[in-house]
């Protein structure tokens, strides 16, 4: 092994870092897929029960146009839901951190709402907003909004007392304290809330599509299951995973950019 490393001109610790971060998890996942593939063949499991990864892959390739067509509404609704939730969530957190009255009035209720299994409220949104995209979008906003509020507020609150005293000594206004101390300090918290919210936003849309929809990946899953097309279900889920990863990755990129730009 050492010889190979030396021939390739790679330092041992590089290999170690690389293997820990990428090679090991990817290798493990591949091993599981291989095992899965093997098990389905060896025990000749029916495709309706559990299709082999290779079968899912070929189904994915042949249905790609359909999958992409259904991915579009799911994607834009969850991204839009996420963006609206981010604006509202950061806004509400800012309000709660700025106003004592608002905080004592609203925050306990926000926490209480947190505890409700929010999925249970999905049918209500359809009753209120109909079967169009509005109800799915609203539900996606509703469900992804809470992690952002809670994380942002924690970040705005967690500021070092001594920094606040410095601001007071410098006669900084409340707005300046917010903009130049609290908000930059909260940025990492905001982004951790937003990363959680990406998943929640997708869940919101999918649940909406399960209940009522003529399009979208959630609809496709439901449709495929009515046809007992398990390979298509799993192919759709694969697309969903890829979309979720890209979505999360974009937010992580935005975080990197903001943090190098504004620090924190």
């Amino acid at each position: 092994m050492k010889l190979i490393h030396r021939l390739l001109g790679i330092e041992a610790q590089d290999i170690d870092g690389l293997s820990r971060q990428i090679l090991m998890p990817v290798g493990f996942a591949l091993a599981v897929l291989l095992l899965w593939e093997g098990v389905t063949h060896v025990f000749s499991i029916k495709e309706v029960l559990l299709p082999a990864p290779s079968a899912i892959w070929s189904r994915l390739q042949e249905s790609l146009p359909v999958l992409l067509q259904h991915a579009w509404p799911t994607a834009w609704e969850s991204v839009a839901g996420f963006l609206i939730a981010s604006v509202l969530g950061i806004g509400l957190a800012a309000l709660l951190s700025a106003s004592h009255t608002m905080r004592s009035m609203l925050y306990p209720n926000v926490v209480l709402f947190q505890l409700i299994p929010k999925i249970a409220l999905a049918p209500l949104f359809i009753v209120w907003l109909g079967i169009g995209f509005e109800s799915r979008l609203a539900f996606s906003v509703f469900i992804s909004f809470f992690p952002i509020v809670v994380a942002t507020l924690a970040g705005l609150d967690n500021v070092d007392k001594s920094l606040l005293r410095l601001c007071r000594a410098l006669t900084a206004s409340n707005w300046q304290v917010f903009a130049s101390v609290r908000l930059p300090h909260a940025l990492p918290y905001v982004f951790s809330g937003m990363k959680i919210a990406t998943t929640f936003a997708i869940i919101g849309v999918i649940v909406g599509e399960f209940i009522t929809s003529q399009a979208g990946l959630g609809y496709l899953i439901l449709f495929a299951s009515s046809q007992a097309d398990t390979a298509l279900i799993l192919a759709t889920i694969t697309v969903l995973c890829v979309f979720g990863l890209v979505f999360y990755g974009l937010v992580a990129l935005a975080e990197r950019w903001t943090r190098t730009r504004f620090g924190a």
């Binding site: 001594s162 000594a169 410098l170 006669t171 620090g263």
Partner: protein, 276 residues
């Protein structure tokens, strides 16, 4: 009994109280807590002249920080009054500079931006202060680190950044609350030299809080000695060494004599208090 050394000042109760730049008149501070009242400061009564570097030394908990916060307008006295140029202090002032025990730098801002932070928050024109920021950072040996983040600096460097920040708006009074107490002994000696050198350049009024008697004597024009609670000022000493202050000053007999005197004052007062 020894004759009083000439560096020991008898406190004036002259009629011209308040003519000095800063006048602390019979100031009290009582914190009301659940476990009863805490008399943090009692009968603080002294004047500070413009241009003096004044140290407050005293045991932990004797109310030094509280006294400084009141002078800085961050706390209000429960009795007495504090006058600056004849006017009572009610709130923090923009012509004061503050340096706290920990550097309290903004971790996401560069050294230069941290130094300029007071300028930005006080909505002054940053461009007017860039030259001053450069001068201060050069004096403290930090200019080459101006683009670094605080996390990339040593503890001593961070505290120097905090001092530059305290001086950036050319304050009439700089308040420093144990700025070097978190540093190791060697770094602390270096910082004392750096601060003495800086003071030869900036000539400002300063209030400097410390537990270290040697540090106080080395840096100050005047040292006020406080005792444990209920705290009083038991000695007021004019340090008879010329500026610029040099390291070897600490080897002189007079330096040790003054330090010993201050130590005795603190201990005597402490013993009296304990045996009461």
């Amino acid at each position: 009994m020894n004759p009083q050394p000439e560096w020991l000042q008898t406190r004036s109760t002259a009629d011209d109280r308040g003519a000095s730049y800063l006048s602390i008149q019979d100031v009290n501070k009582t914190y009301r807590t659940r476990n009863g009242d805490v008399h943090a400061v009692e009968h603080a009564d002294f004047d500070i002249d413009e241009g003096d570097f004044v140290s407050l030394v005293g045991p932990s908990g004797c109310g030094k920080s509280t006294l400084m916060s009141m002078i800085g307008g961050l706390e209000t006295p429960t009795g007495g009054r504090i006058l600056v140029g004849g006017a009572p202090i009610t709130a923090p002032r923009r012509d004061f500079g503050y340096v706290f025990q920990d550097p309290t730098l903004l971790p996401w801002k560069s050294v230069l931006d941290n130094v300029l932070f007071p300028i930005r928050t006080q909505k002054r024109v940053v461009a007017d202060y860039l030259a001053e920021a450069e001068r201060l950072l050069r004096l403290t040996g930090l200019w080459d680190f101006r683009d670094k983040r605080p996390a990339e600096l040593s503890g001593g460097m961070r505290q120097r950044v905090a001092i530059c920040r305290g001086l950036i708006n050319d304050p009439r009074l700089l308040m420093m609350d144990e700025p070097f107490s978190a540093l190791d002994a060697i770094t602390r000696d270096d910082m004392n030299l750096a601060l003495a050198k800086l003071w030869d350049e900036v000539h400002k009024t300063a209030i400097f809080i410390t537990h270290s008697i040697r540090e106080a004597v080395f840096l100050s024009d005047r040292v006020l000695v406080m005792t444990a609670r209920p705290s009083r000022i038991v000695a007021d000493i004019r340090i008879p060494f010329a500026r610029p202050r040099i390291d070897t000053m600490q080897d002189e007999a007079l330096f040790s004599e003054i330090c010993a005197y201050i130590r005795d004052e603190i201990h005597q007062a402490h013993d009296k208090h304990v045996s009461r």
